[in-house]
Amino acid sequence: MFSTEVERAPLNLPNPETPKLEDLRWTIITSENAAEVFAKMQEQGKDPVLFGLSDDDYELLSKNFAQIRAYMIQQGLTLEQYRDYYEPKEETGKENAN
């Protein structure tokens, strides 16, 4: 009895769509400019409230953000390497040609 190995069809999943991120704006508020900042917010029709971070926490947030970003880049590159290894473009070309 003979058996022939059949190659698995390449998965070829498309990359997910890249979302466009919204712009956000930091406001620095100190004991000296607080009144001015809140007055300006009211002028602009915004609720006079701010969600705050201390300078140390802002620094940590920036670093966390950078870590997440680096992880995403590493994930993307790892995925790319897997694709190159298991689904090289030349083979896809051959398959298409056949």
Partner: protein, 161 residues
């Protein structure tokens, strides 16, 4: 008596000839089998050579993939370290930069700086998620043109100087 010996000799001669013929047939069959086996072996050796070549290529690809990832990790670690340095930069007087103190003293300008940096950082995330680079990002070669938050992915033509 003489004719009996003659007959015996003829029988022996015929038996010898028959044996020889049979032996020849067996050897010929063995030779054919050996030839066939040899062909199979040759094909098998060629197959093994192809497998070994494939394994060598795979091994090279694995090494190259690992090297690429390691290189990228180094670059990312350097960028992270640069971010840390930006927050804790030491000035000419040997003091560590305190972003809180600076923000109290120069709120407006620090606000402008962090909003600019945030915009750049957001763009870095978009690029990390697969957003294609703009022409401006592709062509950036000067410090003033690059995305200082992640030049390694945002500005492929920028060489740090």
């Amino acid at each position: 008596m003489f004719s009996s010996i003659k007959i015996a000799m003829i029988v022996i001669a015929l038996a010898t000839a028959g044996g020889g013929f049979l032996h020849y047939k067996t050897v010929k069959a063995d030779l054919e089998t050996a030839k066939a086996n040899n062909l199979l072996l040759e094909a098998s050796v060629e197959g093994q050579k192809a497998v070994i070549a494939q394994q060598e290529n795979d091994f090279k690809s694995i090494l190259a993939a690992n090297a690429t990832l390691q290189e990228q990790n180094k670059v990312l670690a350097a960028e992270f370290s640069a971010l840390d340095d930006r927050f804790n930069k030491i000035n000419a007087q040997g003091e560590v930069r305190d972003i809180g103190k600076l923000a109290v003293e120069r709120s407006r300008s620090i606000e402008r700086v962090i909003n600019g940096a945030t915009k750049k950082a957001m763009r870095c995330v978009e690029i990390a998620m697969g957003s294609p680079l703009t022409e401006k990002e592709e062509n950036a070669t000067k410090k003033s043109e690059i995305n200082s938050e992640c030049p390694s992915i945002a500005n492929p033509n920028y060489v740090p100087y």
